[in-house]
């Protein structure tokens, strides 16, 4: 999940004004909320936080993979990875545009990312050490993202829903290209297979953390689900992810790094070990292996790109002035 621990600001149903009740009734009927329509301030704020964090994740998510573009093993793999990373930039833009319809500016969102006021997904604070990590990231990280994004296509906020539909169309390519890398490596030399296993070992638990901690008792989660900006609980999605991923690992001949993993006939799903949540909270707080590096790369890209943005603006102004003069 690219948005984690989003604080939801709602009003309890019994305290709702008639306007808020009417709004909730629209959502219950399955109507989409569009930008210019009335919405509770809490709905607007929560969505800005959620869509913003999601957008930031797409953009920062380019960094761990960008790391391998120049070192991809073949020209084809390089072209594919480049296309995937370019997609992530596109996904970030769809989501920033959706967030902007709620009255926040692109610059404000960037500023909040760069200052650390807004977060991105914990997963991107882990390093990508070998080429097999490109396989594990596509397979597991994009796989986990899809679990969350597919139901969000039905979210109540129109622009968010439309961005999700567009993203989901493209995301399946990402997961498959990752799995294809894993298949090649798992069938390769023993050293290559070890590399694939090592990547799975390192990304398994961070991928499980992507869904966020159990939200059985979370008030925020309840409110977000009533607003249909969160469609499933974190535990539901995590379980679904494990159920789908374990057979895929088996096909590769790789083992999931969890000794307690076992099929549970009764619940028709796997029992599995929880990730280390203290590690998750440390990463969220900024103490993951790559937090500083990621944020620095973002800020540097923004600052060092300033001359280029200014140049484009200057050119646009000059061309506009020339057109005025010619008229």
């Amino acid at each position: 999940m690219y948005a984690q621990m989003i604080k939801s600001e709602g009003t309890k149903r019994e305290d709702m004004s008639p306007q808020e009740l009417a709004f909730q009734a629209r959502i219950d009927r399955g109507e989409k909320i569009e930008p210019k329509e009335w919405m509770p301030e809490g709905y607007r704020k929560t969505l800005i936080r959620q869509i913003g964090q999601h957008a930031h994740s797409e953009i920062v998510g380019q960094l761990p993979e960008g790391n391998w573009i120049t070192r991809a093993p073949t020209l084809e793999r390089k072209a594919i990875l480049l296309a995937k990373v370019q997609d992530e930039a596109g996904h970030g833009l769809y989501l920033y545009s959706a967030a902007e319809t709620l009255g926040v500016s692109r610059d404000e969102l960037f500023e909040k990312l760069h200052s650390g006021a807004m977060k991105y997904s914990s997963i991107f604070n882990y390093p990508t050490l070998t080429w097999a990590d490109m396989g594990a990231v596509g397979w597991l990280v994009d796989g986990a993202a899809i679990m969350n994004q597919v139901p969000l296509q039905r979210t109540s906020y129109g622009p968010y829903s439309r961005a999700m539909i567009r993203i989901c169309k493209e995301e399946s390519f990402h997961q498959r290209q990752g799995y294809s890398i894993m298949m090649t490596m798992a069938k390769g030399t023993p050293a290559q297979k070890d590399m694939a296993q090592d990547a799975l070992n390192r990304f398994w638990y961070p991928a499980l953390m992507m869904f966020g901690p159990s939200d059985k008792d979370s008030v925020h989660s309840e409110q977000s689900m009533a607003w249909k900006i969160k469609m499933n609980t974190n535990d539901e999605l995590r379980q679904k992810f494990v159920n789908e991923t374990v057979p895929q690992a088996e096909y590769l001949g790789l083992s999931v790094p969890d000794e307690t993993l076992a099929w549970n006939e009764e619940k028709q799903g796997y029992d599995f070990a929880e990730p280390d949540w203290s590690e998750f909270f440390e990463v969220i707080k900024g103490n993951g292996p790559c937090n500083r590096e990621r944020l620095e790369a973002r800020v540097t890209a923004w600052d060092e790109g300033a001359w280029f943005r200014e140049g484009l603006s200057a050119h646009a102004e000059k061309a506009a002035a020339a057109r005025m003069a010619a008229e």
């Binding site: 569009e34 210019k36 296309a83 997609d87 545009s97 692109r106 610059d107 484009l312 646009a316």
Partner: protein, 95 residues
């Protein structure tokens, strides 16, 4: 830094020859030319289009949600505008 935010453009794409341009989303760009370049990169990476329109968002006038009733309700009582309103006997044939 004296950075001025680029204006927002609404992007319309003609998916195939013979179809209308359809609104697909929006993006920021300093001018129309760059808006078209960016739209190409953001919205047509998988051959989704054969033509692009870009329109400054500020130039679009939209009907307001509160006018929904007066604007659209009158059509509700005019079902005779649909061909299915009229029963044509089967023996008349296809019409």
């Amino acid at each position: 830094m004296t950075h001025k935010q680029w204006p927002l453009w609404e992007i319309f794409i003609r998916g195939q020859h013979g179809l209308n341009h359809r609104h697909v989303g929006s993006l920021h760009a300093p001018d129309a030319e760059m808006a078209i370049n960016n739209a190409r990169d953001v919205y047509t990476r998988r051959k989704e289009g054969v033509s692009i329109w870009v329109v400054p968002s500020s130039e679009i006038t939209a009907s307001s949600p509160s006018e929904k009733g007066p604007l659209f309700d009158p059509a509700e009582s005019k079902v005779y505008r649909h061909p299915t309103f009229f029963d044509i006997p089967e023996e008349v044939g296809k019409m």
